[in-house]
């Protein structure tokens, strides 16, 4: 269900990624925390990196806010299957069951995505 805008973003290699946070680590339970690390990159360059509080009170609200941010990738720990499917149906690639430092995971996910894009 790619829109023209989505295609343009993907074609130029621009990516918007979110990691749901628990302190500086990835949150183990999607919906427990509404703080996310947002990273925007193009090729090897990270244009922007910031932490935002999306203020979603329920896991679904958080998913909706993430979808509204038009992210391409979501890195998370545990995520409820219906929500993962809901996000994927909106063209968001969900990388679940992750653990560790959010920034490391973001970097790994962007590298993997870039390799896939270049392949």
């Amino acid at each position: 269900m790619d829109t023209d805008k989505d295609r343009k973003v993907k074609d130029t290699g621009r990516k918007k990624l979110a990691v749901v946070l628990f302190g500086e680590r990835v949150s183990p339970y999607f919906g427990s925390s509404s703080k996310v690390l947002l990273v925007e990159s193009e090729g090897d360059t990270i244009h922007e990196k910031r932490v935002r509080d999306l203020e979603g009170e329920t896991p679904l609200e958080l998913a909706k806010r993430l979808a509204a941010l038009e992210i391409d990738l979501l890195v998370c720990g545990g995520i409820q299957r219906p929500l993962r499917e809901w996000l994927e149906s909106r063209g968001i690639c969900v990388i679940e069951n992750q653990k560790g430092q959010a920034e490391d995971l973001a970097r790994d996910a962007l590298n993997a995505s870039r390799s896939k894009h270049n392949a």
Binding site: S27, P28, Y29, G31, S33, S89, E96, K99
Partner: protein
């Protein structure tokens, strides 16, 4: 899940005076403690001061989906993944205060993304000198209990809707959006396809979930009764009206009103309903003062309402008022690959409800079910399984446990109905509907004799499609 050897565990753990491990240290493989931990049905894990898991028993593996290999050495929150881990860590509070937590309710997300309700208890672990050296958490999977509670209260959610067919997946993926919106919903689908289940799931996921869900079967009541049932009446409105009755609209205030079989209402009633939907106001029978109710309407029909609009049997303005969000449920014969999943789902549900341990159906039963046309759709399948629970005394449902008419029908039929035959049954159904159930007219349209039509209807299990409720 098969138990894997606890490779990461230390091989040199000691045991305390009461047989508990001296914590912070892992249980040695094949130790009596390890065997005891693995034999209990509650999940148990232990952590050291840095919150790293030191032991993880077999039940913990089964409940969380993570093997001991995956878990041991990791932070407990990364493996346990409970909604309380980040804000109210039970083990943390026990370790800092020294007080145990008992039966704390929480939810975890398993490795497969399944959300499970659990109850947690915690305690500190001490060495022989009384120093705190870690913590232990035991947890119990409450999923079955919650399933039972949901069945009793009919608090169905998306998880109760089973299906991997593309159409069902699409419906399910948009269900949260539909639930969140305040728009009226129209659910169309053949009899027994699960329209009320979808309606309840929408309500239970919506911001109105704490308020009532009121179902009304419009086909079950004549117009006048339906009007008084929905809008209520005042004392003295008619003989026997001894006191005011609020009506379903008012009862559903703040919640959802589910109008099932809306296609069966008269155009006169439809006009009244349209007024309520437009103004949000209605006047109880015999009353003069209009009342107001904040209600979300979800309507359902087993016939496509647009067809009825074309035939002037349904008001076009009401149709557009209801048809803001439309969900079209497929017939079970259009999603045959979901039959094994549904069979498993109903067996699980009935095992819980009836405290039984039926493990499945035999291959010949599954073949028979896959070939059956299911005019009654998912409800018919559920009834077949429920019947088999009465006749089956063992752990496996065999052919002899199925209803006799189903067996007879399958014997009269070839082992499998071909795709061509399925299309023919659909066509017969559609033509009968177009001809208001008139078999002579339908036979003429289908270019076959009346007896051939009758024979085919019997073969495909078609009654009068208008009566399929």
């Amino acid at each position: 899940m098969k138990k894997k050897p606890l490779k990461k565990q230390a091989q040199t753990g000691q045991e305390g005076s009461r047989g508990f491990p001296l914590c912070g240290e892992a249980l040695p493989l094949r130790s009596p403690c390890c065997a005891i931990m693995d034999s209990i049905s509650d999940g148990v894990f232990t952590i050291d001061h840095s919150k790293r898991i030191t032991n993880f028993n077999r039940a913990a593996e089964e409940i969380t989906g993570f093997s001991a290999d995956d878990a041991v050495g990791q932070y407990c929150f990364d493996v346990f993944r409970a909604d309380i881990c980040e804000r109210h860590c039970a083990l943390q509070e026990t370790l800092s205060g020294g007080r145990p937590e008992i039966n704390l309710q929480a939810r975890i997300i398993t490795r497969e993304g399944i959300e499970k309700p659990i109850s947690i208890s915690t305690a500190v672990l001490k060495d022989e000198k009384g120093n705190i050296i870690g913590g232990v958490e035991t947890f119990r999977d409450l999923s079955e209990l919650e399933d039972l509670r949901r069945q009793v209260s009919r608090g169905y959610t998306r998880e109760d809707i089973v299906g991997t067919h593309a159409l069902m997946k699409e419906i399910l993926s948009f269900l949260p959006d539909i639930a969140e919106s305040e728009s009226p919903v129209l659910i169309e689908g053949p009899t027994g396809s699960g329209k009320e289940l979808i309606a309840r799931a929408i309500h239970n996921q919506s911001p109105r979930r704490e308020k009532p869900f009121i179902p009304v079967n419009c086909a079950a009541l004549p117009d006048t009764l339906l009007e008084s049932e929905l809008f209520g009446y005042v004392k003295g409105a008619f003989t026997g009206a001894l006191r005011d009755k609020p009506g379903r609209f008012l009862s559903a205030h703040g919640g959802t009103l589910f109008l099932d079989e809306i296609s069966n209402t008269s155009t006169l009633f439809q006009a009244d309903l349209l007024r309520v939907l437009q103004d949000g106001e209605f006047t109880p029978l015999g009353g003069t003062k209009p009342r107001r109710a904040d209600v979300r309407v979800v309507a359902a029909s087993n016939i496509a309402l647009s067809t009825l609009v074309h035939k002037d049997r349904f008001r076009e303005d009401l149709y557009y008022r209801l048809n803001v969000v439309r969900i079209a449920l497929p017939a079970l014969r259009e999603r045959r690959l979901d039959i094994p999943l549904l069979v498993e789902h109903f067996i699980h549900k009935l095992n819980l409800k009836k405290a039984r341990d039926i493990r499945g159906v035999s291959p010949d039963v599954m073949n028979l079910l896959l070939a059956h046309p299911f005019p009654g759709n998912v409800r018919e399948l559920e009834n077949i399984i429920e019947y088999a629970f009465i006749t089956c005394k063992g752990h496996m449902i065999h052919k002899e446990h199925l209803p006799a008419d189903l067996i007879e029908e399958s014997m009269n039929r070839d082992d499998r109905i071909s795709q061509q035959e399925l299309s023919e049954s659909d066509r017969i159904r559609a033509v009968l509907l177009d001809n208001h159930g008139n078999r002579i007219e339908a036979a003429r349209s289908l270019n076959m004799s009346r007896t051939t039509l009758w024979r085919k209807m019997r073969r495909y299990g078609i009654d009068d499609p208008r009566n399929e409720t």
